[in-house]
Symmetry: C2
Subunit: 212 residues, 2 copies
């Protein structure tokens, strides 16, 4: 996602990545501590040790700042390595989702933004296009690989399948605030493989309609 | 849930149900408009046309008032009629969940309370015991009926199954704020029946491992 510099950075440019990292951290800290509605650019600048102008040079508004920082943090986390089977890929997707949702900042920020989005359609749209859709595109790639390998039917219901991957973990961790049993992921993957009508492949471990 | 009066109500008691209904409506309106954090007993009393003492006679605190009103509104909605098959029961459960989540008050209140609960463990616990658990008990009854009818395996993973019922609809409507396709419930039920390893019964319509 980062641009390759065309020539060696000089002067202030040397400090820019470090400043951006300090701002990113400050945005996440302030969001987690105070919530979106009460987040002040002033407080972010103070915590990052920069002037407010350093923020406004990067983003024209609070919403742009929050969405950019969250997107940069959240989207790469959904980019899981390709495994040998759908089963392995689903385990990676669920583990990555778990790591994202249990990140101390995200665990507080995400429910808060979800609530805020109900009253703020522009924020809802920004979350959808810069966090939701890129993450779903990565999930789509995982599912389409499995279709190509013959592990999922070609008429896979993609929208429903993507919901089924993300929803149970979000519901358990972020809505119910409940624990995961030690074998939770294994058992959830079994249920998902059945739900998606997965077929076993020679190299994979997917059991079709196995009794869990 | 309401107590049967032992003798005919006299005097003010005649007005109590009407007052309680006005308070319930006022709590839901104020919660939806301003959120839990900014909800004031004073504003609820004013909107309901009662004194603050009428609220404190019923509930010792704002949290108790909110939880009692929401529980009274939310739990009966999960009590669906018994159908002839698991398929029919799941359709009823999903429809009831949809009606709850798209209620104009609940659609705003629930994400707000979910966010608030992250910072307020006492509120999280109250939501869990008076709304989450009673609703899950009703879902449990539906699933255990299907086990008794032989439509679900006796070693059904109850916690996971309950999550799978509620999570996709919540994720779609309350987190993603996305539309449901016209045949969404039918297709979700197909996926859930497969996920739960449902078996057909003579009187029911559940297809085991059907290709959707």
């Amino acid at each position: 996602m980062s641009e390759v510099p065309r020539r060696a950075p000089t002067g202030n440019a040397l400090f820019r990545p470090r400043i951006t990292s300090a701002i990113t951290e400050a945005v996440l800290e302030e969001l987690a501590a105070h919530g979106y509605a009460r987040l002040a650019m002033e407080a972010v600048a103070r915590r990052a040790g920069v002037g407010k102008s350093a923020l406004y040079r990067r983003w024209p508004s609070k919403q742009d700042m929050v969405i950019a920082v969250l997107s940069e943090f959240s989207v790469p986390l959904a980019d899981v390595p390709e495994g040998v089977s759908l089963r392995e890929d689903l385990e990676s997707v669920l583990q990555a989702l778990h790591d994202w949702l249990t990140d101390p900042h995200v665990a507080t920020i995400l429910p808060d933004l979800t609530a805020e989005a109900v009253r703020n359609p522009a924020l809802a749209e920004a979350i959808r296009t810069t966090i939701g859709e890129p993450r779903r595109a990565l999930g789509t790639a995982v599912l389409l690989r499995a279709v190509e390998r013959g592990e999922l039917p070609a008429d896979l219901e993609l929208e429903l399948a993507l919901d089924l991957l993300a929803a149970p973990v979000y519901w358990r961790l972020s809505v119910r605030h409940a624990q995961l049993e030690p074998d939770y992921f294994d058992r959830l993957v079994e249920h998902l493989l059945r739900a998606l009508d997965a077929r076993p492949t020679p190299q994979g471990q997917a059991h079709h309609n196995s009794v869990a």
